[in-house]
């Protein structure tokens, strides 16, 4: 009975002692810690595991060992051409030297506000010394893309096998080439900021532009300009259509005239040839006795023409020579 009581008390006292004195601490994966004794860092533990410390005297300060994100608010920066754009930057960083970090910043929040200052000012410098397109584009890929079939597949080439005019004007666009590009600008910001930040015991891993936007009034301008550009293209297509139609009508006119005049000519040739042949036939025959032929033709023509006329005859003609006498 007494033995139980004693052992129970010993156990309880031991547990309480351990809990109060706490001679160990745990560093989890992804964490690191420094041991501080009387305000001085005496040890740093970068590896995870169970660690011991001097009870009551040592304090443990934990830091993340993981890669941390910094996400500043989007900032309105002027570009080289003094156009204001919203630039939203994120960065990744980690604590490399806990001792320095503890001395200079102590808390993560302080680090964030320093990152705000340093990255934003570097970014402002970099953006201000470059044109907008350098920040927006990353390479000159935009000029390498083949846009021949963009509208062609929907419209088909014209009769002459050419792309519609509207397509030509569209595909011929080349954009001002860039020299640096967004990634280069980001790494400029990184380089400028990293030096200063390394003195605070942290490493800036990268700086990445999450988003670039126009300010609201420029956005409206851009919309207007986009609309205008599309209107032009639409107009070009319609005009092209009108032109094509006119071409067809012109072609039709030409064909019509060619066909009709050709037929006319052929008909005349046939007739002329026939006339000549007929004349030739007659001439050959009549030539055999021109004097009689003349008489013959006169007779034929009289027969043909006179019956339709109103006639008044005098008895003076040869026909009536026997009218008043029976002999010559």
């Amino acid at each position: 009975m007494k033995g139980y009581k004693a052992s129970l008390i010993i156990i309880i006292v031991l547990v309480v002692l351990i809990l109060i004195l706490n001679p160990y601490f745990i560093v989890e994966e992804g964490e690191q810690a420094v041991v501080i004794r009387f305000g001085r860092i005496i040890r740093s533990s970068a590896d995870a595991g169970l660690k011991f410390k001097m009870p009551l005297v040592d304090k443990v300060h934990y830091f993340p060992k993981k890669i941390l994100s910094w996400d500043g608010d989007a900032q309105l920066y002027p570009t080289e051409e003094n156009q204001y754009i919203w630039v939203d930057i994120t960065a990744r960083w980690r604590i490399t030297d806990m001792k320095v970090f503890y001395e200079r910043l102590t808390e993560i929040e302080n680090a964030h506000s320093r990152l705000d200052q340093i990255i934003n000012s570097s970014a402002r410098d970099v953006i201000a010394s470059h044109s907008l397109r350098e920040a927006v584009r990353n390479s000159n890929l935009i000029n390498e893309i083949e846009r021949k079939d963009v509208y062609g597949s929907q419209t088909g080439p014209t009769e002459e096998g050419e792309d519609p005019t509207a397509v030509k004007t569209f595909t011929r666009v080349t954009y001002e080439p860039i020299k640096r590009g967004r990634e280069a600008l980001s790494s400029d910001v990184l380089k400028a900021a990293a030096v200063e930040l390394s003195q605070l015991g942290l490493e800036l891993i990268d700086v990445v532009v999450r988003q670039i936007k126009y300010s609201d009034d420029i956005t409206q301008n851009v919309y207007r300009q986009m609309i205008k550009e599309r209107n032009q293209i639409a107009q070009a297509f319609r005009s092209d259509g009108e032109g094509e139609k006119a071409k067809w009508l012109g072609k039709m006119e030409k064909e019509l005239l060619t066909i009709r005049s050709g037929a006319e000519r052929e008909a005349k040739e046939f007739k002329a040839k026939a006339d000549a042949e007929a004349l030739d036939i007659r001439n050959k025959a009549y030539g055999r006795d021109a004097e009689f032929a003349e008489f013959w033709m006169a007779m034929k023509e009289y027969e043909k023409l006179l019956p339709q006329m109103k006639k008044t005859l005098t008895t003076d003609s040869d026909f009536f020579k026997y009218m008043y006498k029976y002999k010559k």
């Binding site: 595991g49 397109r133 990353n138 419209t155 919309y223 986009m226 094509e244 040739e269």
Partner: protein, 328 residues
């Protein structure tokens, strides 16, 4: 009241140290049992830490671990494809998927390389390939993942013309975007692999801009219609003209044949008469002359006859009366 006092006394009697000790041991054992196993789902992997230090990874099933939090497990869904949505949020997926209402244009509106604006929404599917890396290398993994995905798509869109983004270069964005995201995630040792990047919407900004773009499509249709109108007119007129031309030519051929035949006919008669004429010219001549007269004066009513001498014959009609316009 008395009853309670008796009960308490009885309880006190029972609560001797031995009983308490046993109770404590039982509780201790119970906690030990319950904190010494864990289950892992088929689609998961568990990372086990001992005193915060990485110990092992275990697959699906029931597993044992050291109790009292000495070993701790994190279950990570490695077997599933995880999805992140950008520019929209699925509210409830199903036969009729509903989307969360709200403005995500902050994510989806971006600048294109030709300094226009496009609306792009997309999803990424990824898999956690390294559970340990996923847990301990990067702080706030989800946000890092989203930040990078957003910046990559922004960069891709910023590198192309808005037209390319909306129409032809979607695949390029998806493929290059996936490659680039994976490069970033590998650099951070995030322990994930992007399986696919899928663009959902790639559009021009809503409203007037979109209308203007649609008008281009209408213009393309107009162009086709106009060209067809031209072709139609051509096809309507030309075959008819060809037919008519043929008709003209055939008529001329007919005329020609007729003309020649007439000539031949005339000549044949002439030649026949000529041979007769050669035999007796005078008689033939007279015969022909009378035949002509017969032909001309076949219609007896139409001829007036005037006697030259006026003494032998009574005129049917005087010249004077005719000249005065009297009727016949």
């Amino acid at each position: 009241m008395a009853d309670e006092i008796i009960d308490l006394q009885a309880l006190q009697k029972k609560m001797n140290p031995r009983v308490i000790f046993i109770i404590i041991v039982v509780i201790f054992l119970l906690i030990a049992v319950f904190s010494s196993f864990y289950t892992v789902d088929q689609k998961e992997k568990a990372v086990v830490l001992r005193f915060g230090k990485y110990e092992r990874i275990s697959g699906p099933g029931l597993h044992f671990k050291l109790p009292f939090g000495i070993e701790h497990n994190y279950n990570v869904p490695t077997g599933r494809n995880l999805t992140e949505e950008f520019g929209f949020r699925t509210h409830k997926a199903g036969v009729v998927t509903t989307y969360t209402r709200g403005d995500f244009s902050q994510e989806s509106y971006m600048l294109s390389g030709d300094l226009n604006i496009a609306e792009v929404t997309w999803t990424i599917q990824y898999q956690i390939t390294d559970a340990k890396a996923w847990l301990f290398n990067v702080d706030n993994q989800g946000k890092t993942l989203r930040d990078i995905s957003q910046s990559v798509i922004n960069l891709m869109v910023g590198n192309l013309a808005v037209f390319d983004v909306v129409t032809t270069q979607r695949t390029l964005i998806e493929e290059e975007g996936k490659k680039m995201m994976n490069e970033f995630y590998n650099k951070y040792k995030l322990g994930i692999s992007v399986v696919s990047v899928k663009l959902q919407k790639t559009m021009y900004p809503k409203g007037a801009v979109q209308d203007a773009f649609e008008d281009v499509n209408k213009a393309i249709q107009d162009r086709i219609r106009l060209i067809n109108e031209g072709k139609e007119a051509f096809n309507r007129e030309i075959p008819r003209a060809r037919g008519e031309a043929k008709k003209t030519i055939q008529a001329a051929e007919g005329y020609a044949t007729e003309k020649v035949n007439n000539a031949k006919g005339d000549v044949a008669r002439f030649l026949a008469v000529l041979s007769e004429y050669k035999k007796s010219p005078e008689l033939t001549r007279i015969r022909l002359y009378y035949e002509m007269f017969e032909e001309v004066f076949k219609d007896p009513a139409s001829t007036d006859l005037i006697d030259k001498q006026l003494k032998n014959f009574i005129p049917f009609k005087s010249l004077d009366s005719r000249e005065k316009g009297g009727d016949r």
